[in-house]
Amino acid sequence: MALSKDMRAAVAATRFGLGARPGELAEAAGDPQGWLAAQIVGRGADLGLPTSELSAKRITDLRVFRQDRRQMRQEEAGPAEGEVSPDRDPVRLAGRMIRETGAEDFLQRARLAATTPAAFRERWALFWCNHFTVSGVKLVTATTVGPFEREAIRPRVFGRFEELLIASTAHPAMLLYLDQAQSIGPNTPAVASLKRRPQARRLGGLNENLAREVLELHTVGVGGGYTQADVTEFAYCLTGWSVGGPREGERSGRFVFRQAAHEPGPRTVMGRRYADDGVNQAAAVMKDLAAHPRTARFVCAKLARHFVADNPPAALVADLERAWLASGGHLAEVARALIDSPHAWAPEAAKLKTPYEFVISGYRAIGGQPAAIEHLAVLRGLGQQPFAPPSPKGWPDEAAHWAAPDALVKRMNWAEAFSAAVAPERDPEAIARQALGARLTEPVARAVARAESRPEALSLLLMSPEFQRR
């Protein structure tokens, strides 16, 4: 392991961070590992919120809005489609509200990423936001992805995995996204009352979506040894975990436990028996899932894949797993194991940047930040629409997914437009040295130096194989 400190600083800022801002490599060069370790502070990342007040307000606002819409339709005795004036068209108004709040939240996150001096901490937080994905593709979650990340994830990313798991599962945004909020035990007073009301629009019963994804995506993983029966049993445990409705006053938009919807009786999940302890039954299952060795293996492999290589070295996964098991899933310890592992520091950059990472690192390279959401519109064209991963699995991490030929042409288009706007008053050779440091190769340095204009030089840097990877 004879890497120079300069090379270690370049790896630290690009692979573990989000790309070097001017001066960052010099800062890290004294002690690259220490520079990263110093970013692990307290239990959480930046932008964390201590309560779920913001999401409660957003959920309530959306529901009130939908009620108004229904009422308006009744009052107007159903105007023919297309005849509602645009400023009263409820779908249009809802769309505007959703776009504006989502855009504001996303811009705030992107500006933090572009400017933070603790970019390892931010990358670490982004990993967990993606691990516990809530996507804004559904109307009910369209305004709550940002609040979910800030309330459930960010305050806990250096705490224990168990806390992160329970907080994300219990968050109203997750309960709505994965259809838990309406799941009702079949042998409960809640179902009986629905059956007595023939006009009720639904039957009432189990929905196993969240239970399955907690097992498959958040904890033990698809090969983790659970069966369909385990999914169903865990889904019974989760019945009653719900979100307060608009007529529930203070509870509106917040986590509530509905005893009347909770399936009574003991349950067995992955060979363990859980007494009926109301809201604690599902929490007890999650505590055991968090402590399960298959969870350590599944999540540590995913961490190694995210930070180091699509096919990460087994020795690195083993280093992380050891730290996880020894600390009982203490994520600050796992983060320290990652930066301490010699297997994470190979000088070859194996990861292709995702669209978000590419664009953010472009802003960091010039010491700038996006001024408006329109500046991030390229993400949609590159297949990474803000706050809208296509499924609960979150954004993929593999180069094969992102390196579609057309996407590379679009990256070039963006690099060229970006450079035309920012390069004229900047020195591209200095940016190249400050952004890549010891990772700057001779062919790229030469191409940048020989370019016929500053925008061309910066475009070449941004599109270079070294800058596209980390």
Partner: protein, 411 residues
Amino acid sequence: MSRLHIDRRALLASGLASGLALGFLGAGVRAAEPTAGRKLVVVICRGGMDGLSVAPPIGDPEYEGLRRTIAIPGDAALKLDTTFGLHPALAGMHALALKGEARIVPALASPDRARSHFEAQDVLETGAPGVYSTDSGWLNRAVQAMNGGRKVEALSVGATAPLILRGPAQAGSWSPGGAWDGSPRLPGLLMDLYAADPLLGPAFARGLETEAMAATATAGIRVPGGGDRQGGGVQGLVRQGQSAARGIGRVVAGFMTQPAGPQVVALSADGFDTHANQGAAQGQLANRLLYLDALAEGLREGLAGEWSNTIVVFATEFGRTARVNGTNGTDHGTASAGLLLGGALKKGGIVGDWPTLKAASLYEGRDLRPTVDSRALFKGLLADHLGVDRRTLDTSVFPDSAGVAPVTGLA
């Protein structure tokens, strides 16, 4: 040129609005081969499409009792035979069925049984018997086989690369909105920088090559974008989604009908994970099906005379529970319906057996039981329609699948 540019951006926006993404692979096939000119379109419906709503078995005595609030009413379904109908949103496909140009595969499933979207999609797209056994897609390997030792002409469309198209044959790619109008020097300089880069070099070169073909494929096609609402309310959004899907179908056809255009295309449609409030004759799922019907319509219009050389197949990673769940939706199940369309399709009834919805027939007491392996269906299409030989299908296209016989009589 600038008009085209705007249209392509609009196409991108509206394509995403309708949940459609597409990719295609093209193969230069020797003109002398009997299968030259034959075209295959594979549409992957992501999220677990509910086959029991797509092709409702209205004649099965158990259907209504299992489905209750989400059953497609017998008088709303578009009748195919005494047992099956099509969902009322699939009117265009139903018209094709009456002409013998559409058939259903009512109980289709991949070999995967984990009920995980992600594992099941992997298995569906890799064509492997289990998950994680290969990282290339069966369609990519099929194109390689079709081209033998010749250079493979391959292309994909979409913002990201779908697994079904990944593999040793470098697929090109295009997606709307990529029109490049910058410095003519930059691409050449980047090609130099990528000369020794095994990932970026070939992919970037392919991306550039596609531009000329894209200009022709999109010419004259007007696709509504985000600012082109067709009336207010949800219905306006749905109509916009339908127009977008139809436009995408026509653009894909525009690629396929060019002299060096692709012969094999893959598209994705998402939004089929209907755990809650999936609707019946109308609603959430119905809207998605309207988009599929419009996509098929656009393809047929755009392909025109070439429709007679084409088969389109729609498949999903798994079906959904036979019973409605507690939230007027359905949870992850096993078998679903596949759809086959095209002028090159051989006339016939349903493909595969109907296992029925009797309690004793349900898989694990909850799901429709599969009667056709998705590999058998795809193998049948590749063999009969595109002339891929059985040995290649059994070994390289669908590894270790000698025991899975191709479905016959499809083309």
